[in-house]
Symmetry: C2
Subunit: 385 residues, 2 copies
């Protein structure tokens, strides 16, 4: 397998983008990434999207993207793994370049969610859970993650204040990200005073419903060294793992085994250990998800994820900066786009282009993108070369 | 890139399978393929499915399949390119094995369509067309293919009788396929007397709504020679190409450029020409689609696809047997499963296991799987080693 690098990135603003359609979003992010890479052609492309069928009644998405991007008849594949669809698009593009089949491959993630009203949107998202054994019976994602949060609180003494501190940190980062959906700072009091969605999760523990797209251009590392306009970022490791969709099939509600396994695979490929990571973008669809994810990634000891944000460990200037982009909580969470947006943030940081939210001397970054309540996870380790 | 072979296949019966759920179908086909291959593990898997979200409100499909197949935490990726999703799953598995990342990869296609009533099913399928410029305005797939048929009739003098002869041939083949949805023989008169759906297409020009799944196990060719229980079939060529979803963006309604291009890529990789092909499974979602496809594949000269079935050219014992399985028309068309079911038929034929419908001395076969009205196409060239 050949070494692979990222040579271009692009991203729309995330938010309620009433004036932009699904295809508009794909075209905007895709053209940005192609221009950033400075390439004059693309050999193949991947689109990660969770459910354009339910959200806007459009399947066959990758052909549509290729056509409206002006890329013509190239192979174009849509991949789906619920909210991990974006990370999976990057992994798929990585494999195609590494295999030698293609040279320049575009990976994109997109979701246009705000065309559906609240209840229908919640129902569409619930298709990432087990329809027969979970969703059909009325459980939704806030409910599933609330059960995880309650179990973590019981086991490790994690508190609502600690969860709230995670949201506060991510909003502080997002306030510095011009592409973020919510750029307001919040306090622990704001979170605890906000509406209870599914006890113990308040609405400010939850990521929002968003529209948006992000894209990245991949090519062989050797070619990247010759043609890249900006510093190429090597994809040093890729890990992908799955688990049961349904929580009832898990041995321990406080664990996300797919996250641990995908991280182990990616770190082994990259020949790195968790302490080598200078910054991480992790999947904080709910505050408790960030808490569990940083434990599974090995960034904190098990059971100590709760206090990481409150103690400053995962702050932008902490020992292990997490979600410098604002995370899903503040940047927004157009589900299929999120995994690629995480790549966008880490590449931006490694290039030293993150402006006010820049992490100093960042040379090795990690992204962790989750599907559902941990039914899938994709991890990438990125290194400045 | 490594050479890749198919060492196992599995397939459910296609039809209105009221007693089987989406996951039942995936498990049945997947376990059959794994048993047929005789492998004791699978490293990674792909599921091709067009729209389990719209059909049964279940996304995150690949993790679900892996879990219920007992494959555990392996990477599992769902791919989608409308009705070409199955072919795309095989192509994706091919790339992952060829790249060296994985050894044994399961490719699967599935669709559970009959849980939706007629109109809702037609609407779900219409998401493979361009939502903004076609589906929203009320056009459906019978209407789109009727326009293609009318253009072909005007240009080349193709007749309704010729189209009907295509359905007659495919039903004659399907009658010999124990897995086919419709095992009844029909006549040209039956087709012409059947209800007009979208002039000039009668209901017997159209493939049905179906449930079903098919699967194949892929591994490196060198490993296949050592471990395969049955004769391994090499994937000699793979081609994938796209086009606009919307017909209005095409230069010529009688052409399917993505089919031509995907075939050229696959044949070039296989170092074969159309006349080398001993049998082909092509995407006859409507009779006119088979007519256009065999022209684009180079099996007949342009404009002469109409008469191929009537003249006996594409009959099971003709010079170019096409759709010996019964095709989508008679075997059934669970859209995401179809591309893998085509692979299932060609492997069955190359192994000499096709029973009453066996093509003599078949050593090289081709599959062509189409998305929408030609917005994507995936072609595989398979060779007995």
């Amino acid at each position: 397998m050949r070494d692979v690098a990222i040579i271009g990135i692009g991203m729309t603003r995330f938010g309620e983008l009433w004036e932009k359609s699904l295809r508009d979003l794909m075209v905007e992010a895709g053209l940005q990434a192609i221009a950033d890479a400075g390439v004059d052609h693309v050999d193949s492309m991947y689109v990660g999207c969770m459910s354009s069928g339910l959200f806007v009644e459009q399947e066959h998405l990758a052909s549509l993207a290729s056509d409206f991007l002006g890329l013509g008849p190239i192979p174009a594949t849509r991949v789906e793994s619920a909210c991990a669809s974006g990370g999976l698009a990057v992994r798929s593009a990585f494999i195609e370049v590494a295999s030698g089949l293609s040279e320049v491959v575009l990976a994109m993630g997109v979701e246009k969610m705000t065309d559906l009203a609240g209840d229908a949107c919640t129902a569409a998202l619930a298709t990432a859970a087990d329809q027969d054994y979970e969703s059909f019976h009325g459980v939704t994602f806030p409910g599933l993650y609330a059960m995880i949060a309650r179990a973590h609180m019981e086991r490790y003494g994690t508190t609502s204040e600690q969860l709230a501190a995670t949201a506060v940190k991510n909003h502080a980062n997002g306030a510095l990200n011009p592409l973020a959906q919510f750029r307001n700072r919040i306090t622990v009091g704001d979170v605890l005073d906000s509406m209870m969605v599914a006890d113990p999760l308040h609405v400010l523990d939850c990521s929002p419903v968003s529209d948006g797209a992000a894209a990245a251009v991949l090519c062989p590392l050797e070619r990247a060294k010759k043609i890249a306009k900006k510093a190429p970022v090597r994809i040093a490791g890729v890990g992908h793992a799955t688990d049961s969709l349904a929580l009832y099939r898990r041995a321990d509600l406080t664990r996300l085994p797919a996250v641990e396994r995908s991280a182990q695979i990616a770190l082994r490929m990259a020949k790195r250990k968790p302490s080598d990571i200078h910054l991480a973008e992790v999947h904080d669809c709910f505050t408790i998800a960030e808490v569990c994810a940083i434990e599974e990634l090995g960034l904190v000891p098990r059971g100590q994820g709760g206090d990481a944000a409150r103690s400053g460990l995962t702050a932008r200037n902490g020992r292990s900066p997490v979600n410098t982009s604002g995370g899903l909580k503040s940047k927004g969470h157009p589900v299929g786009a999120t995994g690629v947006a995480q790549i966008h943030e880490v590449v931006t940081q490694l290039r030293g282009e993150a402006g006010e939210r820049q992490v100093r001397n960042a040379r090795i970054g990690l992204t962790q993108n989750m599907g559902g309540s941990g039914g899938s996870s994709v991890v990438h380790v990125l290194e400045l070369i």
